[in-house]
């Protein structure tokens, strides 16, 4: 499935129990904060921010938009929790940034910056989000299982 959206828009993928928001990085850099160090993540303009949340509806979409806005427009840092941190189970949204994101429902949220893996609800399990000029390519999921909504940020 190919999605077309501009740098000022967010593409939402809405499943049965979860929502994914996809936006362009606009070539911005992002601060990645681990327990011991700060890493600056550089991106290409067509790279993607993929935010995942466990829930549906307008509130969840607004929450994901706020997450993307804080990171991309306000320069808020990405916080990486140590493995097993109690806050992992309380996270409302998790974010991956780069040219490719793989969704997986069998991982612990908010724990590690290294790989292009993001936790999501069951219907997005094993789905991949790939950066493409002017949008994104979604592979590994049946298009009829998800609704797509594109909105301005």
């Amino acid at each position: 499935m190919h999605l077309l959206f501009s740098a000022d828009e967010i593409a939402y993928l809405i499943g049965k129990s979860g929502t994914i928001a996809i936006a362009k990085t606009k070539g911005n850099f992002f601060y990645l904060e681990t327990e011991s160090e700060e890493i600056v993540l550089f991106t290409e303009p067509e790279d993607l921010m993929v935010a995942s949340s466990w829930g549906l509806g307008e509130d969840v979409m607004r929450g994901l938009a706020c997450t993307i806005y804080q990171l991309r427009e306000l320069g808020a840092p990405l916080i990486v929790l140590p493995k097993g941190h109690p806050a992992s189970s309380r996270l409302k949204a998790v974010v991956s940034i780069g040219p490719r994101t793989r969704l997986n429902c069998k991982i612990e949220p908010g724990t590690h910056p290294k790989q292009d893996v993001l936790c999501a609800c069951d219907e997005f399990h094993l789905m991949e989000v790939l950066a493409r000029p002017g949008g994104a390519e979604i592979v590994g999921t049946a298009a009829e299982d998800i609704d797509v909504v594109i909105k301005g940020l």
């Binding site: 070539g27 850099f29 992002f30 601060y31 990645l32 681990t34 327990e35 011991s36 160090e37 700060e38 890493i39 600056v40 993540l41 550089f42 991106t43 290409e44 790279d47 995942s52 990405l78 916080i79 990486v80 929790l81 493995k83 998790v94 974010v95 991956s96 940034i97 780069g98 040219p99 490719r100 994101t101 997986n104 069998k106 991982i107 612990e108 949220p109 908010g110 724990t111 590690h112 910056p113 290294k114 790989q115 292009d116 893996v117 993001l118 936790c119 999501a120």
Partner: protein, 50 residues
Amino acid sequence: MCTVGGGPDIGNIESLATRDYECQDCKNQFKGMGRRPMCPSCKSRNVKAI
């Protein structure tokens, strides 16, 4: 690329492919990853891996 959604089978933070950089304009030193490094302090692309 990076994520804040990782898993128990994923490696250690120390294995991140980061590089140390110094900005040639403002001398800011920082650790970064990605293909288009830029000084996060002064936004210059005149940076050098150290």
